[in-house]
Amino acid sequence: MMLRVRFHGRGGQGAKTASRILGDAAFNDGYYSQDFPIYGAERRGAPVAAFTRFSDGEITERGFIFSPDIVGVMDDSLIDDPLANPFAGLRKGGCAVVNTTKRSDALLADRKDATIIAVDLTGMALKMLGKAVLSSGIAAAVARVAGIGESQFLAAVAEELREVGLSEEMVRKNVELAMAVYGQLAPLELRTEELPTKLELVPLAVVVSGEGMEDVTRTGNSAVRHTGNWRTFKPVIDYEKCTDCMICYAYCPESAMSVREDGRVAIDYDNCKGCMICLTECPLRAISQTMEGGTR
C-alpha cells in the first residue's frame, strides 16, 4: 500500500514543512517515506507544491505526483489558479483537504468520486498561533485522514518545527494546534484508482516546425500577468484618514498605487502582491490589512 500526498500552498504558508512533517510522521510510524518540495524563485505568495509518499514497501518512484491519493490545499484561492491546478489527477476514491471557510460541497462539485474535507485552518492558526502559518494544521488533517498514529505524528511536528528554528513556545502552540485539527477528523478507508490518461507524444519535427525564436515584442504585457492572487493579506485604504500625501505611491515597489480620476490614491488589486510596505510607510495609519477573501 502506498499513499501519495500532494500539498498546494503559497510561498510562506508552510507547504514544504507540512510535507516534511508528514514524511517524518509516516517514517516514525514504520512506513517507508519520501518527501519533496517544488517551487520556483522562492517568492512569498507564489504557488508552491510539496509531496509526501509513504508505503509499507520500498518506494520506487520519485518527483512530481501526478495522481495523488490525497491533496492538501492550503489556500483556496489556488483552486482557480490554472498553474497550481490543485485537484489535477486526484484519484477516484481519493481525498482533498481544503483550508477554507466555504462548505465542502461548494468545492470540486464535479468530483463526486472523491471525498472533500473543508477545514478553516487559517482561522484556527490565527487563534492558536497568532499568524496564518499552516504547516502543522494541514499536516495534521492529512495525517489523520491517512491513518497515521497520533504520537508518531505529534513527535514529527515538534521535530520538524524545531529544525526550522521555531521557539519552544511556538513549537508547543503548533503541537496544540495539530492535536486540535487531528482530533476533529477521522481516518478514511482510502481505496483509490488512478484516473485514465492518454499519452500523446509530440514528434520533434512538430515541436521545431517554426524557427523557435520567440522574441517578445509586445509592450506593456506585464499588466496582463495579474499578481494580485499572491496576496495573503490585502491593504485597505481608510479614505476618512487618507490625505493623499502619496507616500504609499512613492514606496510601492510594484507601482500598484494609482491616482483615481477624483484625485484620490487607489490600490490596483490586480497587481498588488500584499507586501504591506504601504501599511508600514503610511504616516497617518490610514492603511489597514484584512485577510484575503480566499481564505477567510
Binding site: 520556483g40 524563485a41 520533434l204 515541436v207 521545431v208 517554426g210 524557427e211 523557435g212 525564436m213 520567440e214 522574441d215 517578445v216 515584442t217 509592450t219
Partner: protein, 422 residues
C-alpha cells in the same frame, strides 16, 4: 601585421601570391574584412595578438569598429551577446581559462540566439599549467549551442571566420559560432594566406539584419525566464534544430565562397580516402601531421587515409558515416582528455558508426598531443600500425595514450630534480 595593400585579390581564381600571416593575424584580418562593428576584448595568451592587432587598426583608423576592453572574459561575452542582439556584428577572441571563465555566458548568448563569432585560440587547461594547445578548452563549449568550426591552417582561420558569420546570421540558424585555431601551432605560425578581397567579402557577407534588434524605443524581450521545464525544452529543442540546419546552411555558404574565392570547404575533409582501408580521424592543426603519416604509410604500400573534422558542432554524422563505412579500421585521434573516459570525439565517431552495417571492424581510440605535446612522424605512423595490428587480431584493442620513451625519461629526470635529487 597586414595592411590594406596586402589584401590580395584572387578574383576569378587566378593564382595570387598571398602573404605570410600568423593564425592570429588571419583571424584579425577576417574580422576586419567582415566589417565587424564591435569588439569587446580581454587579453590571454596565446590569443592576445588578435585583439592587439585589431586595437591598433581601430586606433590608426584602418578599421571602422568600436573596440572595448572589458574587465573579464565573462563581461566580454556578456557585452558581445548583448551587442549582437542590438544588431551589431560582433567579434571577440579568447583562449583556454578565458573561455571557461566566459562559459556561463556562452550558454546565455546561444540561448539569446545572438549570432556573434568568437575565435578560440586553443590552449590546454590548468592545472598543471602549460601555454600550448589541446582541445579541452573548445570542447568544454561543445554543448553550449555555439556552432564550432576547427581550423588546420592559417588560411582556414580566415576563411572559417567569414563562413562562421554567414552561417550564424542566417535566419534559419541564428546561433553564435566559435572558430578554433591551435595556440602556437597556428596562432604564432606564419604561413601563406590569401585573404579574400573586400568587394568579394561584401557580396558574400551583406550587413547583418537582425529580426528584432534591441532598440530603446522598441522594447523586445529575449531569453526570458520561462520557469517551466516544458517551455525550456521547447526552446532547447529549437536550438538543436537550428544547429542541425547549420550544416546545410554551411554547405550553401561554402558553395558561394568557392565561387567567389576558389577555396572549397565541407563540414569534413577527406585525404587520400578513395581506396583507403585504414583511416585516421582528427581535427585542427595536427591534421597536417596526420596527412604526413598517411603519405608515409602509402609509401610503405598501406592504403591509409585521413578524415578531418572541420565542423564539430553540428556534428557531421552523415559525412562521417559516408566516409568511414566500408573501411577496415579507423582511429580517432583526440587531442583532449576526459579523465575517466578518454578522448571526447571518439564516442561521437563511434556512435555515428554503430548502426552502420559495413562499419569499420575496429575503431581505435587515440589520445595525444595534450598540452601541445609534440608528435614525431613515427609516433603518428604508429597509430596506423596499431590500427592494422588490432584489426588483424594480432593485438587486443586498447586505447593509445601517446608518450615516447625519451619524453618519459625527461619526465623522470624533472621529477627527480623537483624532489631534490640530481
Amino acid at each position: 601585421m597586414p595592411t590594406e595593400g596586402d589584401l590580395a585579390d584572387d578574383g576569378g581564381g587566378h593564382a595570387v601570391k598571398g602573404k605570410l600571416l600568423t593564425g592570429n593575424a588571419a583571424a584579425a584580418s577576417a574580422a576586419r574584412l567582415a566589417r565587424v562593428d564591435y569588439i569587446p576584448a580581454y587579453p590571454i595568451t596565446p590569443q592576445t595578438e588578435i585583439i592587439e592587432t585589431i586595437a591598433d587598426w581601430v586606433r590608426e583608423g584602418t578599421m571602422d569598429a568600436k573596440f572595448v576592453q572589458l574587465e573579464s572574459e565573462h563581461s566580454m561575452m556578456t557585452a558581445a551577446g548583448t551587442a549582437s542582439l542590438a544588431g551589431a556584428r560582433v567579434f571577440t577572441a579568447t583562449s583556454s581559462q578565458g573561455l571557461l571563465y566566459a562559459m556561463e555566458m556562452l550558454y546565455n548568448v546561444s540561448g539569446w540566439r545572438a549570432p556573434m563569432v568568437l575565435v578560440n585560440v586553443s590552449r590546454a587547461l590548468a592545472a598543471p599549467i602549460v601555454l600550448e594547445p589541446d582541445h579541452n578548452d573548445v570542447l568544454a563549449a561543445r554543448d553550449s549551442g555555439f556552432i564550432q568550426l576547427h581550423s588546420e591552417t592559417c588560411q582556414e582561420v580566415a576563411d572559417m571566420v567569414l563562413l562562421a558569420y554567414r552561417v550564424a546570421e542566417d535566419s534559419r540558424v541564428m546561433l553564435p559560432a566559435i572558430v578554433n585555431l591551435d595556440g602556437f601551432y597556428l596562432s604564432f605560425t606564419r604561413e601563406r594566406v590569401v585573404l579574400p578581397d573586400q568587394k568579394g567579402v561584401d557580396s558574400f557577407l551583406p550587413p547583418y539584419q537582425p529580426p528584432h534588434p534591441l532598440r530603446a524605443s522598441q522594447p523586445v524581450a529575449k531569453g526570458t525566464a520561462v520557469m517551466e521545464g516544458f517551455v525550456y525544452s521547447y526552446f532547447k529543442y529549437n536550438m538543436h534544430a537550428a544547429a542541425v540546419r547549420a550544416k546545410k546552411v554551411f554547405s550553401e555558404a561554402a558553395r558561394d565562397y568557392k565561387e567567389l574565392f576558389g577555396r572549397d570547404y565541407g563540414p569534413v575533409e577527406g585525404y587520400r580516402l578513395d581506396d583507403a582501408e585504414y583511416v585516421i580521424v582528427m581535427s585542427n592543426s595536427f591534421t597536417t601531421l596526420g596527412r604526413q603519416a598517411v603519405n608515409r604509410m602509402r609509401e610503405r604500400g598501406v592504403p591509409a587515409g585521413l578524415l578531418k573534422l572541420r565542423m564539430v558542432r553540428p556534428f557531421p554524422t552523415e559525412e562521417v558515416v559516408a566516409l568511414l563505412k566500408g573501411r577496415k579500421a579507423a582511429a580517432v585521434f583526440d587531442q583532449n582528455l576526459s579523465p575517466g573516459s578518454g578522448g571526447i570525439l571518439f564516442p561521437e565517431v563511434a556512435a555515428s558508426m554503430y548502426h552502420v552495417r559495413d562499419r569499420p571492424q575496429t575503431i581505435l581510440p587515440v589520445v595525444g598531443g595534450l598540452g601541445g605535446k609534440q608528435l614525431t612522424s613515427d609516433e603518428m605512423t604508429s597509430i596506423f600500425e596499431e590500427m592494422i595490428a588490432v584489426n588483424s587480431g594480432s593485438k587486443p584493442l586498447a586505447p593509445m595514450f601517446l608518450m615516447r620513451s625519451e619524453e618519459m625519461a625527461k619526465v623522470k629526470r624533472a621529477v627527480a630534480l623537483a624532489e631534490g635529487g640530481s
